[in-house]
Amino acid sequence: MEPVIVKKDEVDLRVAIGTLELKNPVMTASGTFGYGREFESFVDLPRLGAVVVKGISLTPRSGNPPPRIVETACGMLNAIGLENVGVDRFISEKMPYLSALGVPVVVNILGESVEEYSRIAERLADVAGVAAIEVNISCPNVKKGGVAFGADPKMAAAVTAAVKQSCQVPVIVKLSPNVTDVTLMARAVQSAGADGVSLINTLIGMAIDLRSRRPSLANVIGGLSGPAIKPVALRMVYQVAQAVTIPIIGIGGITSAEDAMEFMLAGASAVQVGTANFVNPRASEDVVDGIANYVREQNLDSVRDLIGALLLG
């Protein structure tokens, strides 16, 4: 990263994920921020490091039947089923607004086959404003694709390599926590050319309604998110940071700048704010403000001083 002269009252929050340079480490997590515009009344979108949009598939998907969500202790379960407008409508209807704002857009993509992932990446490769692609190999809520790729290192590597070949923008692979050893997956996608990894996606969970004796979700199982999963996410980010050299984006229960910076100490170069957006639509921008204040108060040269700076022993 080129050195710049930072004014006294400004702080250097810049981080990089491969060739993707961000003005600060705060992104929104896919599936919790719509296509960005939904939050325009609450968030000054260009202030974010990047907007990560709802997972996009080759063709539109209508999602799972309701009930799709249920609240759990300090968290929620969801089985949305990757409802989205499909890549063509995403490019024609959603991207113009975002690219006009000038905020980097990371497009989360999901396919049912290696070829489908490639085709989505090809469609997005030259679209103005698309700063990076996040490959979703970890959604627990669909029958085909998603986690099928996320639990098998060979399949994950194959998807990663195929997407890398299909586009020039940095490729981030979003990892599932629902595996025996997340570092195996991280190493596999690094070897296949991933520019970074983001983790964790939701943990598979279940809730039951005793009164009706039925599962709380129509899909029976769903993905757990929110503050409840933060300790698991921190542990996995820490482990992956020991296992790979590519940048890590930390995700899982982040609601504040303090949470975000814990992930950075564990080894994350950037973070994604997810479920917190539902409770506080301004959460992502609040995290930017909070990190800036901390860096200023602690007199750090840069927020990058926090990355992997966990003290041990």
Partner: protein, 262 residues
Amino acid sequence: MSQFQKKVELVRTEVLARDVVRLTFDAPDIAAAALPGQFVMIQIVPGQDPLLRRPFSIHQTSSDGSLQILFKVVGRGTKLLAEVKAGEQLSLLGPLGKGFVLGDPDKACLVGGGMGIAPMLFLASRFCRQTQPVQAPTVILGARNRQELEPLLAGFQNLGLEVLAATDDGSLGHHGLVTDVLKGLSLAPGFTVYSCGPRPMMAAINHLCLQEKISCQVSVETVMACGMGACLGCAVPLKAGGYAHACSDGPVFESGDLLWSL
């Protein structure tokens, strides 16, 4: 579209009947922007458990900046909300969603059942503001019994409206369902029914309106996490296939667009 995320003061808590609570907030920005049928998301506690906001349709707004919600204590969230003390601050998000489309007041019939009465008062007050009481809308309200229904009538009567009441136990008004009362009115084509209440009630009203060729708008209730079209948790099945979202496409829908037989 003006939406606000505001810390507002709870001015008053009234227990209208057993487990039926009305809260009044001082929320001038949201109150001024709100339309009948829209809702607010309320953060019940500042911490993380319960984590999510709860959606409440707007019961009434006033030019002094106050905003009311009406709800029944049904679970942990509503119980905690009923226990918040006057003078405390809560975070409100709103106004959210698409409200009712208002037609001619004298060709409007409002049907509210149980806590579905909540948005009907806001709607009735807008109809009455539009015109002289001569052209007042027809109002049918139902609940389980007199204790639940009676305290909710005053708001409508203060607008000069006559309310046709129905109770499950016959303790006030018609002994039976609001749909019986609606059927008895034999509304002419050109009328619009505006309805909110339990799902079986709205399904029956939808059926009746289809038969009588009367247009019908319903306000639906679903679980939701965000209230602003991001989580996609509030899926409402459509007759044509696929789903709409209660928070951003609704909560008010043309009843004929929805899938009622599940």
